[in-house]
Symmetry: C2
Subunit: 206 residues, 2 copies
């Protein structure tokens, strides 16, 4: 009861190790032994803290997804002007991604292989849902007022997310095509923080 700090540290170490291994190898590719090794503990201790692989995975997954949702929501649901909002969204989103570069692949994979697990656990949380309504309304208004070209809000949002996320998903492919090494690619990603928003705004501006 006293050395709570130590046990908390162990739990944290496990979580970090689990995130690293899951994200790198995917659910079925990840071995409990890998995670134990990574956390430098006995495998049985994993099950002591987190009963099963399933539960451990779900915890890691949910913790990370839930960390992202509110941030995105707060921007997309703000009262900023459209162009500002796009800039903020891109900046915030790319910032988050550069701190969690492997999260997209993790999420996309999990969502593809076990959609039900996600829908059942995340969907019920009201705050889990993205609040896109205001954003959609805003785009329609701007188009009606002739400030931007007519564009389906869905298209615009999909394009924005695509431009932000894909470079993280397709990193190895892009590196291969262009022959970038790690450092070069990191610079490309850094540069995109400036480019992406204006690319989008350019394409809808009248």
């Amino acid at each position: 009861m006293k050395l709570k700090k130590i046990s908390a540290t162990t739990e944290e170490r496990i979580k970090e190790a689990a995130k690293k291994v899951f994200v790198q190898k995917g659910y079925s590719g990840a071995r409990m032994q890998d995670i134990a090794n990574e956390a430098k503990i006995n495998k049985a201790l994993l099950h002591y803290y987190f009963r099963s692989k399933d539960q451990l995975f779900e915890l890691i997954f949910m913790e990370n997804v839930q960390k992202m949702m509110p941030k995105i929501n707060s921007i997309i649901d703000s009262d900023d002007k459209l162009f500002d909002k796009i800039e903020n969204f891109v900046a915030e989103y790319l910032g988050m991604l550069s701190e969690n570069p492997f999260l997209p692949l993790f999420v996309v994979n999990e969502l593809s292989s076990h959609p039900e697990r996600f829908f059942q656990k995340i969907a019920p949380l009201a705050n889990g849902n993205l609040k896109v309504n205001k954003f959609i309304q805003q785009i329609q208004d701007e188009a009606a007022r002739g400030k931007i070209i007519p564009i389906s809000p869905v298209t615009l949002l999909m394009n924005t997310i695509s431009l932000c996320v894909f470079p993280y998903l397709g990193k190895p492919m892009i590196q291969f095509v262009f022959g970038f090494d790690e450092l070069q690619y990191r610079m490309i990603l850094e540069q995109r923080k400036k480019e992406v928003a204006s690319f989008i705004i350019n394409s809808i501006k009248k």
Copy 2:
């Protein structure tokens, strides 16, 4: 020796089954038994035709990647004008994707988890490499002539690929965010064939 047709059919059935299962569950998620079931054959027959899981996977993977490469190359390396080329590229690429909607996730996953397997086998093939040089030159020329805004060729190409591929990778996520069912999403993807090129051209046009 005579009933080659039957054995070819079996082999084909296995390949199709393998592609389906691998693409759906990923390498480590896929079970040889799943593939056997899918192909309606005995598991031992899998090993009779394709010695091991590794070899079967690699074959499926390579066959599919190699099917895509030449198509993309022929467009990107053509002598069309830039805007035409962008339109052709997007049309061809999205067409191919709509015929192989799960391929992107498959490729991205394999490339992320076993990059070496890919680099060693694909990279040596000269035609495996995308021929981006002419395309890059073209963008630089158009920018110099003031026909388009100055944009890094890498950025433009990355953005183009992002806008094409991401909707397939992020399908479940996007479906979830917007609440699309299968049919609606298929329509969205269909619509993008018209939208994406003009979105890109808009964003670089002067």
